[in-house]
Subunit: 224 residues, 2 copies
DNA sequence: ACCTGAACACCGTTCAAGT
DNA sequence: ACCTGAACACCGTTCAAGT
């Protein structure tokens, strides 16, 4: 915004702005991952002290939220053709794919609901798709809530960062399940451990869409 | 006044065991919250150094997982009467309620899937309920996965720890939504911001159950 | 008003050295 | 084998003092 020109040869230290801070944070995110996006590291990148950032950002959670909204601006908006269900599924798959690049952010989003411009635009699109599908108006708001929660949680599950240890432990526990004490687990062991992520994701979204269109709210029940 | 230097009269420092460590961790959790359950704090409680804990616990994530499994042992098993859907809903509501006491643990569970005894028992019960409901066998495993993810994520959302800041921000953003640029949000503002947690939770579970019973897997599709 | 260095109060994890 | 102190490499946030 402020066109400050330096008379020096060395790259001038740009004035701090909230946008500049967020931009630098996104850059660190892309190059080094969310774990490195700390107040101190960010300040270092901006050639200042961590304390200075607090003029523009309340805390780390707010910083993460700002980064996330920036990322949400990059979700490809799916083509307009096809069934509303397919478009809904594609939009949410795109959302999930974006979050999957930085699962740690998905975790943040789960805890601190975003409220940025791009998040609102996403909600707007989701609500419009449910409206197009003739989902009862009262169900739309709660519907996008579940859909977004599912998509966000699915991405957040991958925040374990290159450590398949826990997955190994679960796989072992399932495979070693005693057939007499855990007959169901033994019987379903294969299904519990397999399934391509995209297929599971797709099925999950269709489960939700089907459920939303077929399940009345408590209020609707009372009226019935 | 000063106690004898004998080690016998003072409460003897108990030998370290994995169980003892987990028990102490649970005690700190109950008294001071998950944030205080750190390796250092835990070691202090056990009158040793943090390094000693690493003989019994691989890292903090594994410690959290062990604590969670301990907690899962306290979920009340719902009464045997009623429709399988109601029993399923009650069981998952109990699971969520337990996690809601320590939402930070729910967050851990989302990232590092638990694999303890009590978790397996819960899965076993969930699978049995879906079987009782004549849910197609191939769908049961993926079904409990979605159900648990939903319940876990719902609890995890409350891990913001007494800071309704982000919620305020979202509420403001929704209420201030421009009617021309965000017509859907403006129209659904009330529903987006309201709803008792229990009602939302209950509706969410029924959405999932309905969806699971009505949505074929990709494989089932191919066969059809 | 904005910016800063320094300080406060912590972290997880590793490792060489002890027992 | 188990246990330990000390060290390494960090954190978020606040605050008094400067500009």
């Amino acid at each position: 915004m402020a066109p400050e020109k330096s008379r020096r040869e060395r790259p001038a230290k740009p004035a701090l702005t909230r946008d500049g801070i967020v931009a630098a944070a996104v850059a660190i995110l892309r190059e080094e991952g969310l774990r490195k996006v700390t107040m101190r590291r960010l300040a270092q990148e901006l050639d200042t002290g961590a304390a200075s950032l607090y003029v523009y950002v309340r805390n780390t959670a707010e910083l993460h939220a700002a980064i996330l909204d920036e990322l949400l601006g990059t979700i490809p908006s799916p083509p307009d053709d096809g069934d509303w269900r397919d478009r809904l599924e594609r939009l949410l798959t795109g959302y999930t794919a974006t979050l999957l690049e930085y699962p740690g952010l998905a975790l943040s989003a789960l805890v601190a609901r975003p409220s940025g411009e791009n998040y609102l635009a996403l909600c707007e699109n989701l609500l419009a798709l449910l409206a197009e599908g003739d989902v009862a108006p009262e169900r739309r708001a709660w519907g996008i809530d579940i859909l977004l929660q599912h998509a966000t949680a699915t991405a957040a599950e991958h925040a374990d960062e290159e450590s398949p240890e826990e997955w190994d432990a679960l796989a072992r526990a399932v495979r070693d399940a005693d057939e007499t004490t855990h007959p169901q687990i033994a019987a379903h062991a294969a299904d519990l451990l397999t399934g391509a992520p995209e297929q599971r994701m797709s099925w999950g979204l269709r489960v939700l869409i089907t459920g939303i269109t077929h399940t009345g709210l408590p209020a609707e029940r009372n009226q019935a």
